[in-house]
């Protein structure tokens, strides 16, 4: 799996992401600078990692969404290429128009760093094939603005089309506002675009991949992607 990690100024989880991609796919990603005009040829997966692009002093992700590299990411996505945005990456994808909705401040109005439980809603996508539908995984969140909101029609469409891949849930998989860490609409933690090739999610699966540090539930996402490309090859 040839992956590319886009680095905007102020992004700070690019090393975590690169290490996880290397660890699980066996191949180090290419780090792509925000000012570059193009993605490396033959890229299988583009990742927009977490952080605070441009300090997030404007709306989160708003400036990064207009960086030169984003034109290349848009046309790559339009050709069906897989794009994963995590945390700030999710915010950037929403601001870039590649995903619907917007990420508002957490309902508690505080930054929250906490392990959360996610219910995997579908396993028939390249991003979630490493999990079973209904499986509950434990991964960390670390964000101040992850409260997913969209207009009613959009939410209805996302639900009807099965584009919600992850929801904040209790450890047993039931939905309960107590476990919805940021107050997101319908406890949405991760959504797909209408073509199914762009995923944005707030939690950090890349931080839960090593048994010696704790849970490894994040592995499934990257292992699934690696399998997807192995099979395609």
């Amino acid at each position: 799996m040839k992956s590319a990690v886009v680095v905007f100024p102020g992004i700070n989880r690019e090393r975590d992401m690169a290490r996880t991609l290397t660890l699980i796919s066996g191949q180090a990603p290419v780090m792509v600078w925000h000012a570059d005009p193009a993605l490396p040829a033959g890229t299988d997966l583009v990742v927009l990692p977490g952080g605070f692009s441009y300090g997030d002093y404007l709306r989160c992700g708003a400036i990064a969404a207009r960086a030169p590299i984003m034109d290349a990411v848009r046309s790559y996505a339009a050709r069906g290429g897989l794009v994963l945005g995590v945390c700030n990456g999710f915010q950037i994808l929403c601001e870039a128009g590649l995903l619907p909705g917007v990420l508002m401040r957490n309902a508690a109005l505080k930054f929250i760093c906490r392990d959360v439980y996610l219910r995997v809603e579908r396993s028939d996508t390249p991003f979630t094939r490493g999990y079973n539908a209904g499986q509950v995984i434990r991964v960390p969140t670390a964000h101040g603005e992850g409260n997913f909101i969209a207009d009613q029609d959009t939410i209805a469409r996302l639900e009807a089309e099965g584009r919600v891949l992850f929801r904040y849930a209790a450890p047993d998989g039931t939905l309960d506002p107590v476990w919805n860490v940021n107050g997101a609409t319908n406890a949405i933690a991760g959504v797909l675009n209408d073509n199914g090739n762009v995923l944005g999610m707030m939690p950090h699966p890349e931080n839960h991949v090593e048994a010696s540090l704790g849970p490894t539930d994040g592995r499934g996402l990257f292992a699934g992607l690696a399998d997807h490309f192995k099979q395609a090859a």
Binding site: P9, N12, R19, G51, F52, K110, F111, C113, A142, L213
Partner: protein
């Protein structure tokens, strides 16, 4: 011990007008006694200036002297005492005197760390004050060529019921998180306390830890004549002017008016500065580097020259400014954040400039090194300052202020002197949910503590554990500690205890303690009783460092922490760093399984003087604090560390605030597993809640308990079995069982409930 100049702003003298000295304008202003006083300089110090330069200083020069000679930058009250601290060990690469301390951890790697206060700004503007405190200490660490891998902090707030406290807690915590989270460093540990003596002065001590190659450390001392001095980072504005000078006076009622002296942090700029600095260091462009913190351009330029035995000439017309028509006085004293000064290798200038431009940062040659040992500042073709650089910098005035030792407090040891007002179970439930002992989850969940993917032990344990590099096997153990109520009752014992507790917390996770950074927070040193506290605490710290082979490698002093004549509790915060050879073998405090033997290591006399039990349950703040037997401390700790390394101890927790039963309760809460505890050998309140030092609780398989105790006794270490892990409750003989779930509810409940209440 010469300490590095620090970057803090500021505080404010109640006798001084709140406004800046009115003199920024022209360089020809007449220097009046009131202008001298407004710069925080004494009449004697002004006479010394006159003698030194043989003429009346210009206003810019007066500003430069005030910036360099204030308490904050010069350590003039503490220096002679700080020199007594042990600072050497075979693994110490750099002790106090640079931007941060450096220790060798093997494999060609070095750990760079330091702690610093940002107390006064945080009280005036909690979010920005705390945020820029984190920014300042991170800069200290990456200035030396290290990539920051962890932050910690130590916070002291006023009584929960004080009307300011909630606002300060909310702002400070958000500010620490706001800066560290955005910069991209995990904030992995710290301590938080509440006491009415911090009502008018909260304490925000921030610690940063970085990793560097041991042969690639960068220092402040310039070398070579005619080398370009380069300004990097953000532009200079009028923020923070005189911050450091004002950090050398007390607060009065006009404190609120000081808000404009607090700088605003920009973690985004700092992140760019980090990446750019590490990149040009890797390209071997740098001769010397100093960050601009307290007293900004003045302090950084003087330090580089003074340490290198060189002169410095600055051309202010080249300084990137964010505001128009800034005067030389303002440019020299601005404390705008996220700025650096470097001496570059001339042949690498183009390469360095390209890197900074790539990161979108300002880059300007603003001066050069000279052979003259003069500090010369030019502005629009004129010389606005021409001063001897050594006397400004490392030869600033030093005072031996009068100090009085307080009489020792009476020992309050026997249970008979402290009749238990409530049953043991009730006392435990109250203690575990009291402001000083309850869970800090509300705080540390606002800090990203998992970023960088190397956090082995998250906040909530005895010490944080962070893996070194991406693969280990080594890890660092990190902690911040101090027990101010002990220091107030007996500064010497309190100073010892702060070091011993840090050493103990590192040991409790299995680490070998290597070195520490200290952050000495006290009141007005011009008062002999306060100076006595400072001197006593330093002596105690020195004794403990010596006995535990645990040297001081960096530090910071914050004095004048008082408001309207009432000082804070003496608070010498210790930040400890230890090394674990194999990160997969660190110990945690949670009970691991039922039916394990619970052992107590260390002597228990039942010392209730200055205990939390006495304060929270008996409502008495009295007595002498528990003494620390440093020889026993070392023996006990060495045994515990060996038991962890050999995989014999399955759970380990140090016994500190609240004593033995709260320690056991915390081990139960962390696991959900309860315990059956035997009848205590002495009065229950003294046994369960006394705060005798040098103790650990650990669990072992029941079959090896006897062997472990025999081994302890052979090593001269007191050990006894307390009971067994069992069930879902703490069961004490002769008391009603206490459900672990109920303990957890109390433990987790107080802080979120308190913060959710409407401000008074």
């Amino acid at each position: 011990m010469a300490r590095t100049t620090t970057k803090r702003p500021a505080r404010v003298r109640n006798t001084r007008p709140a406004r800046k000295p009115k003199a920024r304008k022209t360089n020809r202003a007449k220097i009046s006694p009131s202008l001298v006083a407004a710069h925080g300089l004494s009449a004697e110090e002004y006479q010394r200036i006159l003698a030194l330069i043989g003429r009346e200083p210009s206003i810019t020069e007066l500003g430069i002297f005030s910036a360099m000679w204030n308490e904050h930058c010069s350590y003039k009250s503490s220096k002679i005492h700080l020199r007594t601290l042990p600072t050497k060990a075979p693994w110490v690469i750099q002790g106090p005197g640079e931007n941060a301390g450096v220790i060798d951890i093997g494999d060609g790697l070095a750990v760079v760390f330091k702690m610093e206060s940002h107390n006064h700004p945080s009280y005036i503007e909690p979010y920005q004050g705390a945020a820029t405190g984190v920014g300042g200490i991170l800069r200290d660490v990456f200035t030396m060529g290290a990539r920051p891998i962890a932050c910690l902090n130590a916070l002291s707030f006023g009584a929960p019921m004080h009307p300011q406290t909630r606002h300060l807690v909310a702002g400070v915590v958000a500010g620490i998180g706001g800066y560290g989270n955005s910069f991209g460093v995990p904030t992995v540990g710290g301590c938080v306390r509440f006491h009415t003596r911090y009502d008018g002065n909260c304490l925000v001590n921030a610690m940063a830890v970085g990793l560097a190659q041991s042969d690639r450390i960068f220092y402040a001392a310039a070398s070579g004549v005619g080398m370009p001095i380069v300004y990097l980072g953000s532009k200079t504005g009028r923020d923070g002017i005189h911050g450091a000078t004002m950090a050398s006076a007390e607060f009065g009622d006009a404190t609120e008016e000081k808000r404009p002296t607090v700088q605003v942090g920009d973690p985004f700029a700092e992140k760019l500065l980090l990446e750019a600095c590490l990149e040009i260091m890797a390209k071997d462009c740098v001769i010397a580097i100093q960050d601009m913190g307290a007293a900004g351009l003045t302090c950084s330029a003087v330090e580089m020259g003074a340490k290198g035995g060189l002169g410095v000439t600055l051309d202010l017309d080249a300084v990137p400014c964010r505001e128009r028509s800034m005067s030389p006085y303002e440019m020299m004293l601005s404390e705008s954040q996220e700025r650096m000064l470097m001496v570059l290798k001339p042949e690498k200038k183009g390469e360095a400039e390209a890197i900074f431009k790539k990161w979108g940062l300002d880059f300007a040659v603003v001066g050069k090194t000279t052979p003259t040992k003069r500090f010369i500042v030019r502005h629009r073709g004129k010389i606005v300052a021409d001063l001897p650089i050594k006397e400004l910098g490392d030869e600033a005035p030093v005072y031996d202020r009068p100090h009085l030792e307080a009489p020792p407090k009476p020992v309050l040891l026997t249970a008979a002197a402290v009749a238990p007002p409530v049953a043991t179970a009730d006392a435990l439930l109250r203690l575990i949910g009291c402001p000083d002992l309850c869970s800090r989850r509300w705080v540390w969940e606002q800090y990203d503590h998992v970023i960088l993917g190397n956090t082995v032990q998250r906040p909530g344990g005895d010490a944080a554990v962070v893996r070194v590099g991406d693969d280990g096997p080594k890890a660092l153990a990190l902690t911040t500690d101090v027990t101010p109520r002990y220091c107030e009752a007996d500064p010497f014992e309190g100073g010892k205890q702060a070091v011993a507790e840090a050493w103990r917390n590192l040991t409790a996770v299995g680490a070998r303690p290597l070195a520490l950074t200290d952050n000495l927070n006290f009141g007005n040193p011009e008062r002999p009783d306060i100076m006595g506290q400072l001197v006593g605490a330093i002596h105690g710290i020195a004794d403990a460092c010596e006995a535990l082979d645990f040297p001081v490698v960096s530090g910071n002093v914050s004095l004048y922490n008082e408001t309207n004549g009432r000082a804070i509790l003496p608070t010498p915060t210790i930040g400890g760093v230890g090394l674990i050879d194999d990160f997969t073998k660190s110990a945690t405090l949670a009970f691991k399984r039922e039916n394990e033997a619970i052992l107590l290591i260390g002597e228990t006399a039942g010392w209730l003087g200055q205990s939390l039990y006495l304060r929270e349950i008996c409502e008495r703040e009295e007595g002498a604090p528990p003494p620390v037997d440093l020889a026993a401390e070392r023996k006990n700790g060495d045994l515990v560390r060996a038991l962890i390394a050999e995989g014999i101890a399955s759970a380990v927790h140090d016994v500190s605030d609240g004593g033995l039963l709260p320690a056991i309760a915390e081990m139960a809460i962390a696991s959900g597993i309860g315990a059956e505890l035997d009848r205590p050998p002495i009065a229950a309140s003294a046994f369960w809640f006394g705060e005798d030092q040098g103790r650990y609780v650990l669990t072992v398989e029941p079959g090896v308990a006897e062997t472990v105790m025999a081994r302890a006794h052979a090593a001269g270490v007191p050990a006894r079995q307390l009971g067994l892990t069992s069930g879902d409750a703490l069961t004490l003989e002769g008391e009603r069982p206490i459900l672990v779930a109920r303990l957890r509810e109390r433990f987790e409940g107080w802080l979120p409930a308190y913060m959710a209440e409407q401000p008074a």
